[in-house]
Structures are given as C-alpha cells and as structure tokens.
C-alpha cells in the first residue's frame, strides 16, 4: 500500500494575525507558520497504519507553497513520511482551493506507482473552507469520505470501513481503495517530530515541481476570487444583569425588548 498525505503550511492558531492596511491579505512578516493541525492527523494516521500493518510500502508527503513551506514538509518527514513532493511556484494561488486541487491531481498522476490511500485534514485552519479534499478526489475520480473519526482498513488492503459523525448519529461507510479521506480531530493524536528525526528528515528526498511541470487551468482562476480580508469587529461592551433571578429575568427581557430590540 502507498499512502499520500497532504500538508499545508498555515499561520499558527496562537499567532496574532495582522491584516495589511489595504486589506489585501494578512501581514506575513514575522508570522509563525506551522503544518496545519488537521493535516497532521493525516500524517499521523499514515504512520500509525504503517506501524500496525506490514503492507505499507511508502508514505509520501505533499505540500503546495513557497520555499518556506519546506518546513512543513520536513515535519511530515520527521513524523515518519519517507519522501516529499513540494509544489512550489508563485502561480499556485494558495487561496484558490479548486485550483490547488487540480495542480495536486496533476502531480499525483505523474507518480507511476499510484497511491491507494490519500489523506488530508477535513479543512485547513487558514481558510476554513474544506473544498480541497473533495475537489482533489473529484479530479482523480476516486471516492472521498469526509471528516473521518474512525477507520479500519481491511486485511487485504483493498477496502476500508470509515466512521463519521453526522447530525445525532454516526455514519459507517464501506468503500474500496483507492480513496481519499479527510480527517476529523480525535481520530489520532499527532506525535511530536523528535529532534533526531528532524535532523534525519533533512536527508530524505523531496521532489520539487513547478508550473513547468504542472499547468494552472485558466478557467479555475475565477473559481474562487479573493476579495479582501478585514479584522473581526471589536466586541461590544458586555452588560451584566444583577439581582435576584426573578428580577434578572425581567430586566433581561426589558433590555432585549427596549435596548437590543430583538423581542
């Protein structure tokens, strides 16, 4: 079995995000970037599958992004991936998930041995869009199961059973491989890349692909058009209602009716 795990480099969720004055994007100077935590679930899952099963021949980690994104790839390699693919070209617009999916699909098709299992996060924490995984499966014409919370791959490695949470219930999906899964929080707990493994990761091979090898489909450039970003509006002041519960309820209703004008 060959596994591809896709990892995007995103701003750290603890970082203070500053929006550029012209609202054309976020200010990346000094911004701390990390591998997307949801994508890390995918890497961890791949490594655990190898540890549990005898038939995982290779784990490849793929990222799209500028030179700096190599750091995210290195974390994936330190966690246990065997080799990397880095799609690095200014033309690969990181805010257009449909375009990204088409580029990644081309890169995957160039790999002759092919992949049985493709893994990525259920969405990336930078855009919160979640379009990438399903779009990639569509381009590759393989099945996709989203936001997976449980997984059993069959002994022969030809099919799997995945669980996912749906409104008030759990859905169990049976499906053949190859397939693409996007991973929900809770399925696995990602390991830290150890420092010795981080050093060894430098020696693992990484193929770099650019727009010389991968076409950016013009028609997709309109799929998502990035308009502007703005910081969230400041929170309005809080008002605390005090007193006995009965009076508090009365006062609250009065405020909702007379001041907030919502009831």
């Amino acid at each position: 079995m060959r596994i591809l795990t896709i990892v995007k480099q995103v701003p750290d969720s603890n970082a203070t995000i500053k929006v550029k004055p012209d609202e054309s994007g976020i200010d990346s100077a000094g911004l701390k970037l990390v591998p997307d935590p949801f994508d890390e679930f995918g890497i961890e899952l791949a490594v655990q599958l190898r540890e549990k099963r005898g038939d995982v021949e290779e784990i490849v980690a793929l990222t799209v992004g500028p030179d700096k994104a190599a750091e995210a790839l290195r974390v994936a390699l330190a966690m246990g991936a065997d080799k990397g693919m880095h799609l690095n070209d200014g033309a690969f617009d990181l805010t257009n998930e449909l375009l990204l999916a088409s580029i990644v699909a081309q890169a995957i098709k160039r790999d002759e041995a092919g992949f049985d299992l493709l893994l990525c996060g259920k969405y990336n924490i930078d855009l919160d869009s979640g379009a990438f995984g399903p779009a990639l499966a569509e381009y590759l014409d393989i099945p996709h199961v989203g936001a997976v919370t449980g997984l059993d791959v069959s002994e022969d490695g030809k099919s799997f059973e995945a669980r996912r949470r749906i409104e008030g219930a759990e859905e169990v999906v049976e499906c053949g491989l190859p397939a693409l899964l996007t991973i929900e929080k809770g399925l696995v707990e990602p390991r830290y890349p150890s420092l010795p493994n981080l050093m060894k990761a430098k020696k693992k091979p990484v193929d770099v692909l650019t727009s010389a090898e991968l076409q950016t489909d013009e028609s997709l450039q309109v799929a998502t058009q990035f308009q502007s970003v703005a910081p969230p509006a400041p929170k309005p002041d809080c008002k605390f209602v005090e007193g006995e519960p009965e009076d508090m309820v009365k006062e609250l209703v009065r405020l909702l009716r007379e001041e907030a004008k919502v009831v």
């Binding site: 603890n14 203070t16 000094g30 290195r74 974390v75 150890s194 420092l195 493994n197 981080l198």
Partner: protein, 387 residues
C-alpha cells in the same frame, strides 16, 4: 515592524539556521501543549512532573548535542534554544534537562569508559535511567575544592564516605555522578542507586524550584568498584567543565523565563484600565516595559554570540560566567518587576511571574552564585583570583 510580542526586537530569528528555528519551534510547541497546562499545579503542590521526563526523552531533549546513542547531534545554539523554550515553561523542568544532559550525560560521554557509556548513555537519553550530579556539600558550595567527601582505595574498589547537598534529581536518580577527594586529587564516581550505604533524603520546604526535586545524598562506607570511576576525569577542572556546559544552557534558559514574564506583563498592561486609560498608556509603565525589552534583547544577542563561539570551539569559561550573570540577573529583575506590574493578581500562582521570580532565586544561586561569576570575570580582568 520589530517583533515586540514574543519578543524578538532585533530579529534574532533571522540569524538562526532553519535547523535551529525548527528545533526551537518544536520545543516551544511541546512546552505550550504539555508543560504550561500542568506547571502551576506542580509548583503549588511541590511535585516534579515525572511523565514529562519520558516525553522530553521521546522528543530528543536529553543529551541533544551528543552524536551517538540515538541522540540528535545538534549544535550548541540549538541546545541553548531548547533550554530557552523549556524555561519559558519552568526553570524546574529546564533544570531536569540541564542536569541530565550537561551534568550527567556530558561527563559520562567525555570521561567514561566504553562499558560505562554503553550501559548508561542510551538509557539516560531515553529517560529509562535518571541521573544526578553531586558536587555541592553542606559546607560551602562556592568552594568545592575543599570538599569533604572522600574515596579511599581498597583493592580494586573505593570506599566512599561523605554527604552532598542541594542535588537536583537526587532521590530519583538511578546513577549519581559523585565527585570526591582521593589521594590523587578529585575524581568522579558513578554511584548506582542500590549501592549499600548510599541513601538520599529530599529537601522539603523550598520556596523555589518547587517542580524540581532537590535532595541530600549520604555515603556511608559505600563500596564502589574501580570500573565505576570515570577513568579520565582528573582534578577539580573536570566537574568545573561540566558546570561550564550547564551554565551555558542556563544563560539561554533565563531568557525564556524573562520572555514569559514580559509577555504576561505587557498583555496585562494593555488590558488593565486605570484612571480611564490602559496601564500601557502611562509613561512610567512604558518605561518599565521598554526596559524589560532592552534587557531581554541584550541577553538574546549575548546568548547567541556565546553559542556561536561555543560552536566554533572558541569559547572561554569566563564568557559563560558573564552571560550567566547577566542573563539570570536580567530575568530575575524582570520577573520581580512583572510581578509588581500585575498588582495583587501577580502574587497568585495563576500568573507566571511570581513562579519564575521564585525559581530564579535558585537559578541565580546554583551553578555558581552571581558573586562567583563576577569574581571569575574579575580574575580575567586583573589576573588575580579574589575569591
């Protein structure tokens, strides 16, 4: 815009290699996820978080500069950054890693026999064995040359008698690197936990480094085979060169404690409204924050150049003394001032400055008191030892 938040005002980040940055970020994440959520509780209840020892080992934080035994083989700057990040968490956690790496693995790797290395190094790297370093005695830690612990040769063995005090990890150690006087001068011995006549007792009622174990060690006619002596360690210079390693790490570690205190103080100052304005809009508060930033930035540059000198093999121990003195004093002053800026809330263990301030009271004393480091630099200037 200069980074006043983390803080990294002079963009030291850009002076680091990718390896160094990635090591720092990995440890920072570990500290955020694993140390910070539990550390105030450990401090309050005087508990060493043993589970972190295993986790630090898995991450490769023990003996990280060593090339063999599954260790990472990092450079000295990366080692310094590990210490800085650990001490953003707590000086006690950093002390654990310092002792295991610089005071136990370093001497065994440098002066140990092959047999000693094979036996201890892989286990120490994995935290399957814990080590401690016994140099200080009850009477006058600043003057270790006058130590009273003695080892007398008896056939192929040594008979060890004496006591050590203020020993980090003492009671949890599987192996103690113990320094003792012999007919031929000071020698180092590996004393194993179950050696007959060897006992330990924890030192209670500490107001500092409460998340770290500090113990007394007692040796009552302990029979130590000569194969447990570090064969090539001779004289006081051997333990002192261990201390140079550890002090180097402390010079970095202290920056982490200071950064954590500065961040908490500056966040508080921007949120706290007094006399109609955030505290951070007051002149006097800005001067205080600016002074913290000035001193942290100075300490960061000092530590980085110290690390580069060490990586080039050009470091002198008096440079390490100056850095330990400067950076620990800087961190202690900042921790105390940050504590004050936080007002009454600042006396609670919920806020980090008081914990750091109390911890740093140990850090400024151990591994050579501030006075001792000043005297080491003074001797370098004048050529006269004035201890």
């Amino acid at each position: 815009m200069p980074n006043t938040q983390s803080p990294d005002f002079f963009d030291i980040n850009s002076l680091l290699s990718e390896d160094e940055r990635q090591v720092r970020d990995t440890v920072a994440r570990f500290v955020d996820d694993r140390v910070l959520p539990i550390i105030s509780d450990c401090f309050e209840n005087e508990k060493f978080p043993m589970e972190l020892a295993t986790e630090m080992a898995e991450l490769g934080l023990l003996g990280p500069t060593i090339q063999d035994f599954g260790c990472a083989g990092l450079n000295q700057v990366a080692y310094g950054l590990i210490m800085q990040e650990l001490e953003q968490g707590d000086s006690g956690v950093r002390s654990f890693a310092s002792v295991q790496s610089s005071l136990v693995m370093y001497p065994i790797n440098r002066w140990g026999s092959d047999e000693q290395k094979q036996r201890w190094m892989p286990a120490l790297a994995k935290a399957e064995a814990i080590g401690c370093f016994g140099l200080t005695e009850p009477d006058g830690g600043s003057d270790p040359g006058t130590m009273k612990t003695i080892a007398k040769k008896d056939g192929n063995d040594w008979i060890l008698n004496g006591a050590k005090m203020w020993i980090t990890n003492g009671s949890i150690a599987d192996v103690s690197v113990v320094w003792a006087n012999t007919d031929q001068g000071i020698r180092g011995f590996l004393v194993e936990k179950d050696t007959k006549g060897y006992t330990t007792r924890d030192i209670p009622h500490k107001f500092s480094l409460r998340a770290s174990i500090t113990s007394e060690l007692f040796f009552d006619n302990c029979r130590i085979p000569d194969t447990n002596r570090l064969p090539t360690a001779e004289g006081l210079s051997s333990p002192l060169s261990c201390l140079t390693q550890a002090r180097f790490g402390i010079a970095w570690g202290a920056i982490g404690a200071a950064m954590a205190c500065y961040r908490e103080a500056s966040e508080f100052a921007s949120e706290r409204i007094l006399f109609g304005k955030p505290l951070s809009h007051k002149q006097q508060v800005q001067v205080r924050l600016a002074d913290m930033l000035r001193r942290i930035t100075t300490g960061q540059l000092l530590a980085l150049q110290l690390g580069r000198l060490k990586d080039e093999g050009r470091i002198h121990h008096s440079q390490v003394s100056l850095a330990k003195w400067n950076n620990v004093r800087m961190a202690l002053d900042i921790a105390r001032d940050a504590r004050d800026l936080l007002g009454a809330g600042g006396i609670s263990v919920e806020c980090c400055p008081i914990r750091h301030a109390m911890n740093l009271e140990s850090v400024i004393t151990y591994e050579g008191t501030e006075t001792i480091h000043q005297l080491i630099v003074g001797r370098e200037i004048t050529g006269v030892a004035a201890f």
